[in-house]
């Protein structure tokens, strides 16, 4: 049991996808214009990650080695499309904001990376825990990055504006700000993580 807990927590720090593994940079930079967008993208990836990890660890023993990548991608794409249908039906506003980046989860290196590195060699439950850990790590990183960019760029927190009608520092909502924030957060994260070693 404690082993599984370790699997979950390692996704936050040791295997943190955004600040340590530097995976999934495309949705990280593009969707974190606000905290809520970052969080939604993280949760969408978490959903796909847990389910695809479970399915792949169950399938892995029966898949011939030479076709394992195509099979994994078909499985992942199925879950992403499922998610797309569900979001479109029940959270249309969110679907519109994230729109383009939902189908891109298929080729998100985090999902395929965990499938290759972990799920294909471990049991279903362990893989689910790994997916949950890495997914939560990704969600938190994206939320923090979104929060910092939102505070600096539009002067609000989760959509609640605290500087009145003024404009924030727009650069942080745009692409350059994404790189700057990500860089500084990465430094900060690694400094803290190294201290705790």
């Amino acid at each position: 049991m404690s082993n599984r807990l370790k699997l979950i927590t390692s996704g936050f720090i040791k295997n943190n996808p955004t600040f340590v593994l530097l995976l999934g940079m495309c949705p990280t930079l593009a969707t974190t214009t606000s905290a809520i967008n970052g969080m939604s993208m993280g949760l969408a990836t978490l959903f796909v990650l847990v389910l695809s990890n479970m399915a792949i660890s169950a399938l892995a023993p029966y898949v011939p080695d030479k076709v394992h990548i195509p099979v994994y991608i078909v499985v992942i794409a199925t879950f992403v499309t499922l998610l797309q249908f569900i979001m479109q039906a029940y959270t249309p506003a969110m679907y519109e904001t994230l729109g383009l980046f939902i189908p891109l989860i298929v080729v998100n290196c985090i999902v395929l990376g965990r499938a290759e590195a972990f799920a294909s060699k471990n049991g279903v439950l362990d893989s689910a825990c790994d997916g949950l850990g890495v997914g939560l790590g990704f969600t938190c990183s994206l939320t923090v990055l979104g929060l910092v960019r939102e505070i600096l760029g539009s002067g609000s927190i989760f959509g609640w504006n605290f500087i009145g009608g003024h404009d924030g520092m727009l650069a942080f909502v745009l692409a350059p700000g994404a790189f700057i924030c990500l860089g500084y957060l990465m430094v900060l994260f690694n400094k803290i993580a190294n201290k705790n070693k």
């Binding site: 214009t33 892995a60 023993p61 099979v71 499922l82 249908f85 039906a89 539009s154």
Partner: protein, 204 residues
Amino acid sequence: MAVQSNLNNMALVLTLTCLFCSAILGGAYALTKDPIDKAAEAKTAKAIGAVLPEFDATSYETVSVDGKDFNYYLAKKGSETVGYAVESSTSGFGGPLSLIVGITADGVVYNTSVLSHSETPGLGAKCTTDEKFTSQWKGLNPSEKILKVKQDNGDIDAITASTITSRAYTLAVQNALSVVSVITGANPDATTGATTSKEETSNE
């Protein structure tokens, strides 16, 4: 770790996986089709409701203006025409900017609403939220104002640092007005006005 690969089991596994996945997706599509359609319908209904005064029924129609097809909703209360909600799309800064423009039967803009856009967050994307910008369309009478942004010697206040988006927005409203004037067959001046400004914008 895995099974030894040969042609037969590779083909078999891939076929089975794909068949199984497409079956699941087919089922999911059938299950979510209704809610998806309903969500889209509710969105359009809400948009029409926001841009036109009270009405009982709408009908969806298409009209061709200058060789381009425009879709609009004809809103009626009883037998009287309340107004027209025209779907009008132009190119903004980041991609197509799609508006629904509500115009009452007497040719005055009642309100406008953005259906979809891909403008820069924090800049052009303010066209959906900036009170100062959006409120100036309410009750705008095209015969009293010049439908161009101030930078182009018109009467429309542009969003700060988002002139291109504001221009696109203004052009979309203008096109919607000329569509309505074609539908009602009135005010030929508005039509020519819209055509001229269309040319100007494309030259920029």
